[in-house]
């Protein structure tokens, strides 16, 4: 256990190693460690952000779907309403047409009836005249009795 120059040699080498470590080992390793730490922190923050964004997107998607459903419902309601309207309009048109046809038909019938009645009346007048001729056995002056005959025909 002799104290000798080794003591000083050891102190010098110790100082050199500490200096080397301080200068060339400590900074790069510490930098790498700190960079990794910050990267991990960044990654975690990004994951958190991503999760949040996903939640927002899901919410947005839900809104869009709900909106779409509402709109579709509106469309269906509108379409139904429109269809009802069309049906109603068609019914009304059909009814009008039917009325019109009926009116035309009854007018025609009326006309035919009047015509037939007129013809019948004329025939009856003629028959009455010829009957009266035969009964009277003599010539009736048609021209003289026209007024009477027409009155008769009109009363038939």
């Amino acid at each position: 256990m002799n104290m000798n120059l080794t003591l000083i040699g050891q102190a010098i080498s110790f100082a050199i190693f500490v200096w080397f470590c301080l200068k060339y080992v400590w900074p790069p390793v510490l930098k790498a460690l700190e960079e990794r730490e910050s990267r991990i922190a960044d990654g975690l923050a990004a994951a958190e952000r991503g999760k949040h964004e996903l939640e927002l997107a899901e919410q947005r998607a839900g809104d869009v779907i709900r909106d779409g459903k509402d709109k579709a419902q509106d469309f269906i309601t509108q379409a139904q309403k429109r269809a009802d309207e069309i049906v109603e309009a068609a019914k009304a048109t059909a009814r009008e047409e039917a009325e019109r046809i009926k009116a035309a038909a009854s007018a025609e019938i009326e006309q035919n009836r009047n015509q037939a009645r007129d013809e019948l009346r004329a025939q009856v007048a003629r028959l009455a005249v010829s009957g009266a001729e035969q009964i009277l056995m003599r010539e009736v002056d048609e021209k003289a009795h026209r007024e009477v005959l027409d009155k008769l025909a009109a009363n038939l």
Binding site: L5, Q10, F14, F17, F20, L22, V25, V29, A32, L33
Partner: protein
């Protein structure tokens, strides 16, 4: 290597390879403990210097290699090991050091790894290297630098110098001396304070180096004793358990040296008044 009696074997194994100035004025290697002691202070333990420099260079090379290629994304296995040690040191400094000083981290890292590597030499079987060096003509070879009291004192006195330097730098000469003079009993008992504080200040580097030296020397001595006294076919039964136990000791001693250095330097950075 049972060349001679167990006592000779043991004393051979605890003798450093010393190169220095003989009493007659010539320089050369000491042949035996007697000559080494006569050289006094003007001598150097070549084996201690060689192994401590080698382990120190290995430490620098290894850590520098990792530091240069340090990858954030894909750390290599070596980088993992280095980072493990690194983070342990950073954590210890963060826990125990309450000042601001950028030398503490590298200092603690160097102390821990270097002492660990020097202690690790203890696990090399006691006769391997001495036998080889004997074959090439080197008489003594003690390959665990921390079993040399010069090595441990070299480190602890360096730490002591840093303690005093930062004590004076942070607190000023007056503050530093005031701490020695006015604690723990106040101004009335100044001489008592001075004696107590000086003793406790001096005890710090002393205990730091002697703890490490004592543990490692004793551990090495046990290995040497086993090798000297137990027949070779039975030595494993004692040396293997002791070596396994010693893995714990060498790590623990490196850790204690590092931790106490951090604590002592932390004390130099803060005044007693703040407690």
């Amino acid at each position: 290597m049972a060349a001679g009696s167990p006592a000779e074997y043991i004393s051979h194994h605890i003798q450093n390879l010393t190169w220095g100035k003989h009493p007659d004025g010539t320089w050369g290697f000491a042949h035996g403990p007697q000559e080494a002691a006569e050289m006094g202070f003007m001598a150097i333990n070549v084996d201690t210097m060689f192994w401590s420099l080698l382990t120190g260079v290995v430490f620098c090379w290894l850590f520098r290699k990792v530091a240069v290629s340090a990858s954030v994304e894909k750390p290599s296995r070596w980088q993992h090991c280095v980072e493990l040690v690194f983070e342990m040191v950073v954590g210890s400094v963060r826990d125990a050091f309450h000042g601001h000083n950028k030398i503490i981290g590298p200092l603690a890292l160097t102390i821990f790894v270097w002492i660990f590597l020097m202690n690790l030499m203890d696990l090399v079987p006691v006769d391997f290297v001495p036998y080889v060096s004997h074959l090439v003509g080197i008489e003594y070879m003690k390959m665990v630098p921390t079993t040399d009291v010069n090595a441990t004192f070299g480190m602890s006195l360096s730490v002591f110098a840093l303690m005093i330097y930062y004590g004076i730098k942070v607190k000023g000469p007056g503050g530093f001396l005031g701490e020695l003079a006015f604690h723990p009993f106040g101004k009335a008992l100044l001489p008592v304070n001075l004696v107590l504080e000086t003793v406790s200040l001096i005890a710090k580097p002393l205990s730091l180096s002697l703890r490490l030296f004592g543990n490692m020397f004793a551990g090495e001595l046990v290995f040497v004793l086993i090798a000297a006294l137990v027949p070779f076919w039975l030595q494993w039964a004692l040396s293997v358990p002791w070596a396994i136990f010693h893995i714990l000791v060498i790590t623990l001693q490196a850790y204690i040296f590092m931790m106490l250095t951090i604590v002592y330097l932390s004390q130099s950075h803060e005044s007693h008044d703040s407690h």
